[in-house]
C-alpha cells in the first residue's frame, strides 16, 4: 500500500514537474554531436565530452528538486499533506540520479558503439562529475530556498574548474582528461554528503 502510494507520487511528480527537465537533459545529450566528435576517440579525447559536457545534465536534473514547492504558499499546502515533503524530495532526487545514470550509461554505450575507447571507469567518472555538480545545485537550491541560487552555484563551480584547473585537487572535475581517476571517488563521496546534509540543514535554517 505504502509502495503503491509512493509510486503514485513518483508518477505524478514526473508527469507534472519533472518531464520538462528530463526533456532538456535529453536534448543536451542529443545536441552533443554538434560540439564533439564521438567516434574513434582515444581515452583522452573520449573524456572531453564525458567530463566537459555530459555532466551538465546533473545540474539540470538535480538542482530543481525543490522547485515545485519554492513558492511559500504551495509549500504550506504540501506540508499539510500526509506524506512528508522531505520523502517526496528524496524520491525526486533518487529518480533524478537514476535518470542521470541511465542517460550517461546510454551515452557511453553509444560512444563504445562508435569505436571510442570508453570503459566502465569512464561511465563512473562522468557520473561522479554529474552527481557532484548536481549535488552542489541541489544543496544550494535547498538551503538558499531559491533554485536560481542552486543553478548559480553549480555554474560558478564549473567555471572555476576552467580557471583554477588542477589547483582544485581532489575536487577537480576534469581529471579524466588528464588520465586521473582518483578524484572521482572524492566527488561521489562529497556529492553524497552534500545531498544528505541538505535536508537537516534546510530544516534547521527554517526553524
Amino acid at each position: 500500500m505504502v509502495s503503491g502510494c509512493l509510486a503514485r507520487v513518483v508518477y505524478s511528480d514526473v508527469k507534472h514537474n519533472f518531464l520538462i527537465h528530463y526533456i532538456v537533459a535529453l536534448c543536451i545529450l542529443l545536441a552533443s554531436p554538434i560540439f564533439f566528435s564521438l567516434s574513434q576517440l582515444d581515452s583522452i579525447l573520449a573524456a572531453q565530452p564525458l567530463e566537459l559536457y555530459v555532466p551538465l545534465i546533473g545540474v539540470v536534473l538535480m538542482t530543481p528538486v525543490f522547485l515545485p514547492e519554492q513558492n511559500e504558499s504551495i509549500y504550506d499546502i504540501v506540508r499539510s499533506k500526509k506524506i512528508n515533503h522531505d520523502i517526496v524530495c528524496i524520491l525526486r532526487l533518487i529518480c533524478s540520479v537514476i535518470v542521470i545514470l541511465c542517460m550517461i550509461g546510454a551515452y557511453v554505450l553509444y560512444m563504445k558503439n562508435c569505436n571510442s575507447q570508453v570503459t566502465v571507469r569512464y561511465f563512473i567518472g562522468s557520473s561522479a562529475t554529474a552527481l557532484f555538480l548536481g549535488a552542489i545545485g541541489f544543496a544550494f537550491a535547498g538551503i538558499g530556498r531559491n533554485v536560481v541560487v542552486g543553478y548559480m552555484a553549480s555554474v560558478i563551480y564549473y567555471i572555476l574548474n576552467f580557471s583554477f584547473g588542477t589547483k582544485l585537487g581532489y575536487f577537480y572535475l576534469f581529471s579524466m582528461m588528464h588520465g586521473s581517476f582518483i578524484e572521482k571517488k572524492w566527488l561521489i563521496l562529497i556529492a553524497f554528503c552534500m545531498a544528505s546534509a541538505t535536508f537537516p540543514v534546510r530544516r534547521i535554517i527554517r526553524n
Partner: protein, 418 residues
C-alpha cells in the same frame, strides 16, 4: 530615482548578488592580479623564444594554407574545432572531389600532379584516437600565377562550408592561422616599446583586465537578473506592482539600469585598484590615466547588459531556469569559440566574449579595432532592444492578455486540462 534606489537596495541584499560579487572578486584577483597583470620588463637579447607575430602576408597565407589543406585532403582527415572541441571530419567521395578541384585551381596542378606530390612526399603513420592514418609531409605546393587572394578566400570559404565550419580555413581566421612568423629580438623590443609609448601602459593592462573579467561577466549577470525578475512572481507581488501608476517602460528600464549599475560596481572598484597598482609599478612612466576606465567599460558593459537583458526577457516569457539555460548555452559557445579563435587579437563582428589574453600584441588588437567597436555597439543595441521587448511583454502581462508560458503549476503547458 526613488524606484531606482529601491531596486538597487533589493539587489544589494540578494543572495545571488552576493555570490556574483564574490566570484567577480575571486576571478579578477586570482587571474589578473595574481597571475596575468605582472610588470613587463624589456626583452633580453639572446632569449630562445620571443613568441610569434601576425603579419598580413597574402602570399604566405595562400602558400601555408594550401599546404595544410593538401595534407588533410590526402589523409581525408580534416581537424575542426566548431565550438572549441576537437572534431575529425571525414568527407565522402563527392566532397573530396570538390576539395581536389579547389586544390587544382589554387595550385594549377591536375589530379595526376597532386598524386605525384603524394608519391614523392614522406609519409608518417600517426595514431589519432583509435584510428591510424598516414600524414603526408607536403610543404611546397605551388600557387597558380592567376590565383588572386580574393578568389583564394572565396575558395577557403567554400572549403570551410564543406567541412561544416570551425576549420582552419574559415576566412576570418586565415591571417591568424597561416600568417604567423617568429618574432626577432627587434620585434620583441618594438612590442615592449609599444606598451610604454602607444598603449601608455594602462591600455595594455586594460585589455588584459577586460579579457579576464569578460569571461564571468558574460554569464553571471543572468542569475542576478533572473532571480530579481522572478522574485515578484515568487513573492506574489506581481499583481501589486501591476496596479501601480508607473508605466511598464519606467518599471522595467529602472530595474534594468539598477541591475547593470549594481553589477558594474565591483568591476569599477577593481578598475581603480588596477590603476593604482599600475601607478605604483610604473612610477615615472607616461601613463594614460583614463584608459583603465574607458576601455574596460566599453568592453565589459555590453556583456553585463546582454546577460541582464536575456535574464529579464526570458524570465518574463518563460522562467528563470530557461533564462539561465539560454545564457549558459550562449556563454559556453562563445567561450569555446573564443578559445579556438586564439586568445589574443582575433575579434569578430559578433564575438560575444572578446579575448585578448596578452599584455603585448597591440597590433593584433588594433587590426580588429573596427570589428571590436561594431561588436560592442551591436551588443549594447541588442540589449536595449531586448529590454524594450521585455517592456512589451510586461505590458501584456499587466493588461492580463498574457501570463507568460508556464512550465509548472496552474496553467502549465505540461498540465493536462480537466
Amino acid at each position: 530615482m526613488m524606484l531606482f534606489c529601491m531596486e538597487c537596495k533589493k539587489i544589494f541584499s540578494s543572495l545571488t548578488y552576493i555570490l556574483y560579487s564574490l566570484l567577480v572578486i575571486l576571478m579578477i584577483v586570482s587571474q589578473y592580479f595574481m597571475e596575468g597583470g605582472e610588470k613587463v620588463y624589456p626583452p633580453s637579447q639572446g632569449d630562445y623564444d620571443y613568441g610569434e607575430k601576425i603579419v598580413e602576408d597574402h602570399d604566405l597565407i595562400m602558400s601555408t594554407a594550401t599546404d595544410a589543406l593538401t595534407v588533410e585532403f590526402l589523409s581525408n582527415r580534416y581537424v575542426c574545432y566548431p565550438f572549441g572541441f576537437y572534431k575529425a571530419v571525414h568527407l565522402d567521395n563527392e566532397e573530396q572531389a570538390k576539395i581536389e578541384k579547389y586544390i587544382c585551381e589554387i595550385t594549377g596542378l591536375d589530379s595526376e600532379g597532386i598524386a605525384e606530390k603524394k608519391k614523392n612526399a614522406d609519409v608518417c603513420y600517426i595514431t589519432d584516437g583509435t584510428h591510424d592514418y598516414g600524414e603526408y609531409a607536403i610543404r611546397d605546393m605551388p600557387i597558380s600565377v592567376s590565383m588572386t587572394y580574393e578568389r583564394f578566400t572565396d575558395i577557403m570559404d567554400d572549403v570551410d562550408d564543406i567541412l561544416g565550419g570551425g576549420s582552419d580555413y574559415a576566412v576570418d581566421g586565415l591571417v591568424y592561422k597561416f600568417s604567423r612568423v617568429p618574432m626577432t629580438y627587434e620585434d620583441a623590443v618594438e612590442d615592449y616599446n609599444s606598451i610604454l609609448t602607444d598603449d601608455r601602459v594602462t591600455n595594455a593592462y586594460a585589455r588584459l583586465f577586460s579579457d579576464y573579467a569578460g569571461i564571468v561577466l558574460a554569464i553571471l549577470p543572468v542569475f542576478v537578473a533572473a532571480a530579481l525578475t522572478a522574485a515578484d512572481r515568487r513573492r506574489r507581488m506581481s499583481e501589486l506592482i501591476y496596479s501601480r501608476r508607473s508605466s511598464s517602460l519606467r518599471i522595467v528600464f529602472t530595474r534594468f539600469l539598477a541591475l547593470v549599475t549594481t553589477m558594474f560596481i565591483p568591476v569599477f572598484v577593481f578598475m581603480v585598484i588596477a590603476l593604482i597598482q599600475i601607478l605604483i609599478r610604473y612610477n615615472g612612466a607616461d601613463i594614460d590615466m583614463t584608459a583603465m576606465f574607458t576601455l574596460p567599460t566599453f568592453w565589459l558593459l555590453p556583456n553585463i547588459m546582454a546577460a541582464t537583458a536575456t535574464g529579464m526577457l526570458v524570465t518574463e516569457i518563460l522562467s528563470a531556469g530557461a533564462a539561465i539555460l539560454v545564457q549558459f548555452v550562449w556563454w559556453f559557445m562563445g567561450l569555446m569559440a573564443g578559445g579556438t579563435a586564439g586568445l589574443s587579437g582575433r575579434i569578430g563582428k559578433f564575438t560575444f566574449i572578446c579575448r585578448h589574453n596578452a599584455l603585448g600584441n597591440r597590433s593584433g588588437f588594433i587590426m580588429n579595432w573596427n570589428n571590436f567597436v561594431f561588436n560592442r555597439v551591436f551588443y549594447m543595441v541588442i540589449s536595449v532592444a531586448a529590454v524594450l521587448f521585455t517592456v512589451g511583454i510586461y505590458e501584456l502581462k499587466r493588461g492580463g492578455s498574457f501570463n507568460g508560458i508556464r512550465l509548472f503549476g496552474k496553467g502549465s503547458i505540461f498540465r493536462r486540462k480537466a
